[in-house]
């Protein structure tokens, strides 16, 4: 284990001399940092987008899929009987966690946006609504439908699926795009850092030849490159992450009314995710540069 960890030595300590032997490659250095920063910044946004839409989809999927409404339209004298029957059926249905008939007050609230606050709900022959909360497993909608048709002909099951499923699908599509972007950003960053490291190594052919000539071992030469690229990437990614997180934190908070379009921010422990970005970038850079260095070194005796 310790032996394995020794490949990390270039990052921590090590003789400072090994760093001096690699000339500071101005443009490549800046390029690496900038790439890391830009990619980290974009990654933050992609992550935030994925998380926000994830939350959204979860909330919809969770709250809507687990709730359903049964509407009972019947002549005024039958309505109470049918409601009782429906509640009885629901009690026997596996997958139903909780069911209750709505009060006239609630019905009014539901209709208020459409009909105004002065609606005389009591006087209306409105259908009675029964709210159903499903358990984790959910009920068998088809079976319930048939049973209701038999026992309470005025009852209609509406499991909301029809209305909200496309919304959930849309949210999940945006989340997929966010995650796809994240994967792309990761891949592109790894490729860019590898190429930047290769470019730096190729530009330093003379340095590598001179060092091999005077008896430098591969790991001595690789150390300076690996360390430098890892630290540069880390610095760039930290800056990009910080800027991205700041931009997100400063975004106007989502008003509560917005409802289905929640804020794009991170919430609570989710703030730990952005911290993973610089770490991941540094690990990427470490592995990519190390592989590139040893590949280039093998071409020089």
């Amino acid at each position: 284990m310790i032996a394995r960890l020794s490949i990390l030595a270039p990052l921590f300590g090590g003789r400072s001399g090994a760093d001096r032997v690699v000339p500071s490659t101005g443009p490549t250095a800046l390029l690496t940092m900038l790439t890391a920063a830009a990619m980290a910044f974009l990654a933050i946004f992609a992550l935030a987008l994925a998380m926000a839409t994830g939350r959204l989809a979860d909330r919809w999927a969770g709250s809507l899929e687990r709730s359903a409404t049964i509407r009972i339209s019947a002549p005024a004298d039958q309505i109470d009987r049918q409601t009782a029957k429906v509640l009885e059926v629901l009690e026997q249905t596996p997958g139903v966690e909780f069911a209750r008939a709505t009060t006239p007050d609630e019905t009014r609230k539901l209709l208020e946006p459409w009909l105004g606050p002065d609606l005389p709900v009591e006087d209306l022959p409105l259908p009675q609504l029964v709210e159903v909360t499903q358990s984790e497993a959910g009920f068998d909608a088809e079976g319930l439908h048939l049973r209701l048709a038999a026992e309470a002909p005025g009852a209609v099951l509406d499991d909301h699926e029809r209305w909200r499923a496309p919304l959930v699908a849309s949210a999940e599509r945006i989340r997929a795009i966010g995650l796809l972007s994240l994967a792309l950003i990761t891949g592109a960053t790894a490729a860019m850092i590898t190429l930047a490291a290769q470019a730096a190594l190729a530009a330093n052919g003379q340095v590598i030849r001179a060092l091999r000539l005077i008896g430098a071992e591969d790991r001595y030469i690789a150390r300076a490159f690996v360390r430098r690229f890892t630290l540069r990437t880390l610095a760039g990614a930290l800056a990009g992450t910080f800027a991205g997180a700041l931009a997100i934190a400063l975004m106007p908070a989502a008003e509560e009314e917005a409802g289905f379009l929640t804020g794009l921010g991170f919430q609570g422990l989710q703030w730990l995710w952005p911290l993973a970005i610089p770490a991941l970038a540094a690990i990427l850079a470490f592995v990519a540069t190390r592989m590139a260095a040893f590949r280039v070194l093998r071409t020089v005796r």
Binding site: R15, G17, R20, Q206, A210, L211, L213, I214, G215, R301
Partner: protein
Amino acid sequence: MIEFHDVTLGYPGSDLLSGVTMKLAPGSFHFLTGPSGAGKTSLIKLCYGELAPNGGRVEIFGEDSVKMSRDETARMRRRIGIVHQDCQFLDHLPLDENVALPLEVAGQKADGEALTELLTWVGLAGQAQALPPSLSGGERQRAALARAVIMSPDMILADEPTGNVDWDMSLKILKLLAELNRMGKTVLMATHDLNLIRAAKGLTSARVLRIQGKRLQLAGSDL
């Protein structure tokens, strides 16, 4: 120290050496000569493992050069001071750090006083802080020589170390190599300057190897 057993060397399209068998005994001094393009530099590269023979065997300090791992090759080179014909330096480090680099690479501390003395000896004390690209051709060659001897190696391979310096400096360099040889170091020096080889006769008992028609010959007193 270094032994060639029936060594063949060629690049695609051209054969350079064939059937070369030789031995550089510890403490010996050899000149290596031959026309331009004969393979002097290539032969020296065989001696420190930058090139591998196409046939035959090269033994460096008793080990087959092609069987060494890359790290073994690196450690072997710390025992050999090499003056490369192209004087390879790190262009971003000042001259004194370049000269002390073999110590640094081997994990040793450079002795500041000894370094200054060495630079003074090759006439570069005033340029200790200069970057290699700003040095003159002759200065680079002298710096390369200083770097080659700083580790006090068992063996010195010098590829035309006097190509860009005047006669006085050539003699001075020759005298340094002869002195190192008297201290027991093995020396191989490639040169095309026959006058220098003649001048060496009084300094050390050098032998002259000549590459001619892909073969290595021991040149007689016909120089």
